[in-house]
Homo-oligomer: 113 residues x 2
């Protein structure tokens, strides 16, 4: 077990949902789901290092991602096996929804009311 | 449309997840899913009124619940139709997970690592 990561049985639903309740973190999870393990810096983009460090911490300590050091960098990956074991079907539902509802996406459909 | 509630198209995934990222709010959602419309005060339990008012606001403004006045009280209900339309399968997955992983529930299984 890597330090500062919860074990599978310690992962809590509300912590995972809180971790995902942010557009940037949602986008990271989607990217990791699609691309597998990624280098931290390849996900940094336009954000400051301290901002991203904060987001990695939230995702890591809630049990959403693995963050393991390699050389001077960190590699990130989704804890898909653990999340699927703890919360069957949830990640698939979320990723399916994100396919059709990308973070930051604004619907332009006419309002119903 | 009730005031201070987002319209269906304005409901954002990250806001819903953030609203659900709290054990008390998760428990409220579960109760509303099981019991339909409920009187605010029947859900108050051991929490202070100001605490619950805060949680109603988070759930309402994120689009998770309807909160409508009736007499001197408010009635609460889950926006199931809207959530299912916006995020197909997500609420079902969440409620299914909660069945087996009640908020506040501590697993007692032996650790794997």
């Amino acid at each position: 077990m890597l330090p500062d990561h919860p074990e599978r049985e310690q992962i809590r639903l509300e912590s995972v949902l809180a971790a995902l309740g942010n557009p940037l973190r949602l986008a990271i999870v989607r990217t990791l789901a699609e691309s597998g393990e990624r280098n931290c810096s390849s996900l940094l983009r336009a954000q400051s290092k301290s901002t991203m460090t904060h987001h990695w911490r939230v995702l890591r300590t809630s049990g959403v991602i693995w963050q393991r050091p390699e050389g001077r960098e960190n590699l990130l990956s989704l804890r898909r096996v653990d999340l699927d074991a703890r919360f069957p079907g949830l990640l698939d539902a979320l990723l399916g929804v994100m396919e059709h509802d990308a973070p930051g996406h604004e619907t332009t459909e006419p309002k119903e009311s």
